[in-house]
Symmetry: C2
Subunit: 335 residues, 2 copies
């Protein structure tokens, strides 16, 4: 198996992707292709031990930054690391693609270069969020701002397949994000979607509310990408603010620093349970081949988790199962 890594994307590129990829080449029984400026990558590679038979570099002169308009950048920057990597994936020069770079550009590359699975109206970004009951999936977490009910139903199906295969949950529960639990609650989109989810080949448990995200009420939370983006960023923002507050709590004065020594183990367990790095990246579900978006601020540890996740994405039969489950849904024009 060969994993293509956009080595230029993310706040800690190229260090984090290269360090993690080298480690993976030694430990994970995968080949790694780094895509990016060769000169820079050769220099970076020299810092780490890696399996020389399993690591290669493909040169890409350009980089799409976070400030560029995604679709336009993908169309114009043919030699950017993301575009080169996506073309390699399309041409079967690798089995999965991982990038920590511009989210929109990765989505556009998935859609325009790698392509949708036949029958999938819109691929969706699926994020794993920490909860009181372990990691749960939020889909769509931001790929599709405006959605129709058919989209949400497909998100729910694809999310269920992923959680079953990658997280090992036999029959993942699916909740529809709404502003009330009762069936009649919701906006136009969720009210229209509810009966379709009831009839879909999933374990639908009905409407859920914002508090259910962290409580872990459903294994898969489905919503449009606008709401999903707001939830994801609200949770991230709160995590960061509360994290700082807890840190302040233990560094305020001598007394609290002594206190910290006694609860160090608990603090670390708490931090770990809230650590997005444990869960890898966000898979893009609905494209013909596996694509994973790593968090922009990923360090080497987070990239390594995402590589393991990409491997599992390839090994399990997620894409085949998505093909099987959506092929019986009539494809409709949805632009």
């Amino acid at each position: 198996m060969r994993i293509i890594i956009d080595a230029m994307g993310g706040d800690n590129a190229p260090q984090a992707p290269v360090e993690a990829g080298c480690k993976a080449s030694n430990e994970l029984d995968v080949d790694i292709v780094f895509v990016g400026k060769e000169e820079i990558l050769v220099k970076e590679l020299n810092k780490y031990s890696y399996n020389k038979e399993r690591v290669s570099i493909v040169n890409a002169e350009d980089v799409i930054t976070n400030h560029e308009e995604p679709a336009k950048a993908v169309r114009s920057k043919k030699n950017s690391s993301i575009v080169v990597a996506a073309n390699m994936l399309k041409n079967n020069e690798g089995d999965a693609l991982l990038s920590m770079g511009n989210t929109g550009a990765l989505l556009a590359s998935g859609l325009l270069i790698v392509g949708r699975i036949k029958g999938v109206l819109r691929p969706a970004l699926a994020t794993l969020l920490p909860s009181a009951k372990g990691p749960k999936m939020l889909i769509d977490a931001g790929a599709n701002t405006n959605c129709k009910s058919e989209n949400l139903v497909q998100f729910a199906i694809m999310g269920s397949i992923y959680m079953k295969n990658v997280m090992g949950i036999a029959s993942p529960t699916v909740g529809l994000m709404s502003n009330g639990e009762e069936e009649g609650k919701g906006d136009e989109l969720t009210k229209e979607t509810f009966p379709h989810l009831k009839n879909a080949p999933i374990n639908f448990i009905g409407n859920i509310e914002g508090r259910d995200v962290m409580e872990g009420t459903a294994d898969v939370v489905t919503c449009d990408g606008f709401v999903g983006n707001v939830i994801l960023k609200t949770v991230e923002g709160m995590g960061s603010v509360v994290g700082n507050m807890v840190k302040d709590m233990f560094t305020k004065n001598i007394s609290s620093k002594i206190g910290a020594l006694f609860v160090m183990k608990s603090i670390n367990a708490f931090k770990q349970s809230m650590d997005y790095r444990e869960y890898g990246g966000a898979p893009l579900l609905g494209t013909k081949k596996p694509i994973i978006k790593g968090h922009g601020s990923s360090d080497a540890k987070a990239v390594y988790s995402a590589i393991k996740q990409a491997k599992k994405f390839v090994e399990t039969n997620i894409i085949d199962e998505i093909i099987k489950n959506v092929s019986n849904m009539e494809e409709k024009s949805n632009d």
Copy 2:
């Protein structure tokens, strides 16, 4: 000044509202009218010291529970505490109304009985949320599931007036909740709303994202009630889950319990900064007279904060200022 309290609403009724109202009668220079089952309230009142010249009871035989369909219940249960209280407010038998009961029933009573300010298309529920920079307002937090851009503009104006008068912020900043900071980002509603907010008599700072809620980027966060409800409940759910985790952290074993002793002061400061009870309730903005929704789980301390808040709502000229600012906006049919 006379504050009408629905003494039957909320998880801790009648104890919490009665205890808080009694304290307010002694300390706040306000008259308190408790509305509810007289027999029960007389018994509860006997448990506390209160100012006999300032406290009275108005009998209401019925209660609208949290499980009833709000608009229907308000229409059919004429003798429920919320409906009796709303009619008293309408008939100038009090200056403000506070309820910890069924949110939908309170909103319906505000709309159907107390009535909208002329020119206000839709009253909105405005919640104060904790942030890294102190309490910030989320409006609409759930009163209006489907909104138009005119609604959001009015929410922003009313929210700004409230934050100026009650929180003492000279020129409150307003952010439009979206899925990206750039002007072009958003769904149909936010894209349409953006230019109108630019021209509104407010301190508009543009689009904001979910993470800005907790970071406190804007004093007023405006959005439709569906998104607002999702944000509010996501934050509440996360607060409760993280709170339990922090608690577990300090009660796990002997070592962590000793540690807790050293950081007790910091823990309490942390809890206080995250404590909704400090901020009172959620004002309903846009009705002819002040209405405040206290949190359903309010204890006496939270109800007392909400009474102080109701007093400030009456004392400052919020309603006059809303009348002045929306009277020059043409009233449009909006149902």
